[in-house]
């Protein structure tokens, strides 16, 4: 299995708290369900613009969703 990427996130927790599915979140931010799953599992780091869109969907700021852990 590939090493997780250095950017951690709490997308799964925030998504579940809002009662959204991966597909619904994906539709709102312009990603596929598979890409949302990859972000949640730290297999893919989204672009800055997408990261902002995800944070905006959760009505929070970027730092509350994503964190850099080298």
């Amino acid at each position: 299995m590939a090493k997780p990427l250095p950017i951690t996130n709490c997308v799964k927790e925030l998504r579940e708290a809002m009662g959204m599915t991966q597909a619904e979140l994906g539709e709102r931010v312009g990603l596929t369900r598979q890409t949302i799953a990859a972000i949640e599992q730290r297999r893919y780091s989204p672009s800055l613009e997408t990261a902002f869109r995800i944070a905006d969907t959760f009505n929070t700021n970027l730092e509350a969703v994503f964190e850099y852990q080298p």
């Binding site: 590939a2 994906g26 312009g30 990603l31 596929t32 598979q34 890409t35 990859a38 599992q41 297999r43 893919y44 989204p46 672009s47 997408t50």
Partner: protein
């Protein structure tokens, strides 16, 4: 399975079927002639038509069976495609250089044509394989 991955599978299978049939035709004609058959526009046009028809059938089948079929590629899938194109370009370059090197030794124009054509097919199959692998790997 993502729609983008399904498309790569369909296109790879279509390309393998059409190319396999082309190879079979070339071998049959070459056996009849007793030497490598020179490149023939008729055979290649049949190949292109088969490729286009099978691709259309595959995509129609995908559109019927998958509600995601009309979705655009997202940023992650575009990255996979760029990486696939990069590796595919390397395979094509290597194949062409090998074919040209072979021509310098043997001066066989027909074989040069087929070698470059094979490199083109191999590079496209490589691109589909890389896209599928990247989807599987995450």
């Amino acid at each position: 399975m993502a729609n983008h991955e399904k498309t790569a599978w369909i296109m790879m299978v279509v390309l393998l079927i059409a190319s396999g049939k082309l190879l079979q035709t070339i071998i049959q004609h070459s056996e009849t002639l007793g030497t490598l058959v020179p490149p023939n526009a008729g055979i290649l046009i049949q190949y292109v038509i088969a490729l286009v028809v099978l691709s259309i059938i595959g995509h129609i089948a995908l559109a019927i069976t998958s509600k995601q079929a009309l979705e655009k590629k997202d940023e992650r899938e575009r990255q996979f495609e760029v990486y696939g194109s990069h590796i595919s370009g390397l395979v094509l370059g290597l194949g062409c250089v090998t074919a040209l090197g072979h021509y310098l030794v043997h001066f066989d124009g027909s074989l040069l044509f087929y070698s470059v054509f094979a490199a083109l097919i191999a590079s496209q199959i490589t691109e589909y394989l890389v896209v599928i692998w990247r989807h599987r790997r995450g």
